[in-house]
Structure formats: C-alpha cells, structure tokens
Symmetry: C2
Subunit: 157 residues, 2 copies
C-alpha cells in the first residue's frame, strides 16, 4: 500500500468526498433512495413471516375486502394479472387464502383469507408497522403525516 495513512484515504471512513448534489437535487432520486431504505426494513420484518412485499399487500387487501375478485385486486395493487395469479397460487398452497368461482359469472374468482391467513395478516401488519417505525424514527408524527400527504399527491394525483 502507498504511504497514505488509512485515516486520510479519500474513499474510506471520511469518504463521501464525492459530489452527489446533482442527483440529490432531483426529487425522483430522493424518493428512490428513501424507498430502498424502507424496503430493507420492511423485508427484514417480513422475512420472519416468510412474506414478500406483494404478499403483504395482498393479505391486507383481502382482510379489508373479503371476496374481492382478482381483476380488482390486481388493479388496486398495480400488479399484473399473470403475476397475481402465481402469487395467489403460492399463498393458496400455503393455506392462507381460498379462491371461489363466482356463481353469477363463472369467469370470476372471488378471493378470501382463510382463518390462518387472517392470523398471519395480523402478525404481518404489526411487522409492517415496526418496519415503518424503524425507517421513520427520525421523523416526528407531524412530519410523517406531512410526508404521507405529499406522497399521496404524487400517486393519487
């Protein structure tokens, strides 16, 4: 190694000698970086329950909307129908939900949680709230509400 002491090495502890101001000036990049942090906390929490992000979203929707059909579920969660189909296959195999053909229109599958699914959702919601807390501990309650309001203007906009 050259004669430079480690403590003066530009790329190490003191690091961040790099100029990221252009990227940080773009809101899209800030959203991306924040999303990566939140994802990490969320995944860490859900790993214990063997659930992925989309799995939790589905469990949550089914809890609040029992008997929802797959088209409505796919639209609400912005999941492509083929990907939802295989996701539901997996959760159904795990005994978390059931699918029932509508008698009105036999093309339609009505999806509901099993009691086991309800139980897991209850645990998963607590885990999701913990992940939120871990990622957002720097923000006050007011800041969290403000952030939620601003974000929802982007996607509900």
């Amino acid at each position: 190694m050259p004669t430079k002491p480690a403590s003066l090495n530009i790329d190490d502890e003191l690091s961040a000698q790099v100029d990221q101001s252009e990227l940080l000036g773009l809101l899209g990049y800030n959203v991306r970086r924040a999303y990566l942090v939140i994802q990490t906390h969320f995944d860490a929490q859900m790993e214990k329950l063997d659930l992925r992000q989309a799995d939790f979203a589905v469990l949550s929707m089914l809890r609040s909307n029992p008997g929802i059909n797959q088209k409505a579920l796919a639209e609400a969660l912005a999941i492509a129908p083929p990907n939802l189909a295989t996701l539901l296959d997996r959760l159904e195999s795990s005994g978390l939900l059931g699918r029932q053909r509508s008698t009105d229109d036999k093309r339609i599958q009505l999806v509901s949680l099993t009691p086991q699914g309800v139980k897991l959702h209850t645990q998963a919601l607590k885990a999701a709230q913990k992940a939120d807390e871990a990622a957002l501990h720097q923000l006050s309650a007011g800041e969290r509400e403000q952030l939620k309001r601003l974000l929802s203007k982007i996607f509900a906009g």
Copy 2:
C-alpha cells in the same frame, strides 16, 4: 353478461370501491406507490436517450466526479460492484466513458466521461428534470422542498 349496466359495475370506472386504507396508512406503501409513478415518468424520458436509471446516476456522478474509482462510485450509488462492472462495460462500449488504471495502485480503475458522455449527460439531466416536473406537477415549489427534506431524513439518516 348479466343485466347489470356497465355504469354500475363495481370494478369499472367508478371502481375503487375497494378499501385500501390499511396499506395507505403505512408510509412505506406510500413511498412505494409514489416511487412507481416517478419511475414511469423517468423511464419514459430516458427511453429516448437509451439510458436506464442506474446509467443516468452513473453519468451524473462521473460528470461531477471525473476520475472517481469504481469502489467509491458503487458505494455512493448503492450499486453492487459486479453490477457496476457490467454497467460500465456497456457504457464504455457505447463510447460514453473511459476507464484508466491508476498508476499509484494498479488495482484501481479511474472512470471518466468522454466528450460524448458529457454531451449525453447534459441531455439526460434535462430529461430527468422533465420527469421530475411531470411526476410532481401537483406540488408547489415549497412542497417539493419539504418533500425532499423529509425524504433525505430517511436515507441520510
């Protein structure tokens, strides 16, 4: 089709008869949905320039930090070194950047934009700003600053 008129079909135009309140109560989910919207605008802009998200981030960093090494670049952008290596291969093949072995330490690659890379970055920055604008048109200048501040508290934590 049953006798229901289309205009009363729960899953159609009026739709959103679904309860998403639990998910929307989680900040992580709000960040995710906002990120998806921003991604869409960003990708649409970058498609014209044949650039992906990470490509733009690299061009931006190289513009502000010419001669940065790959380790520092990978760390700053949170890209795994193997993925950065192949990304740089591609941009180098396209004539956008060059890699030069450091004479001090021959393990290190120093990366810089070519004049063509500088030119493309200039266009790409404008495109990124357009994408920001398109995604954030609902927010006032003050709200955008506020949002940036709150997001950076999450990832700069």
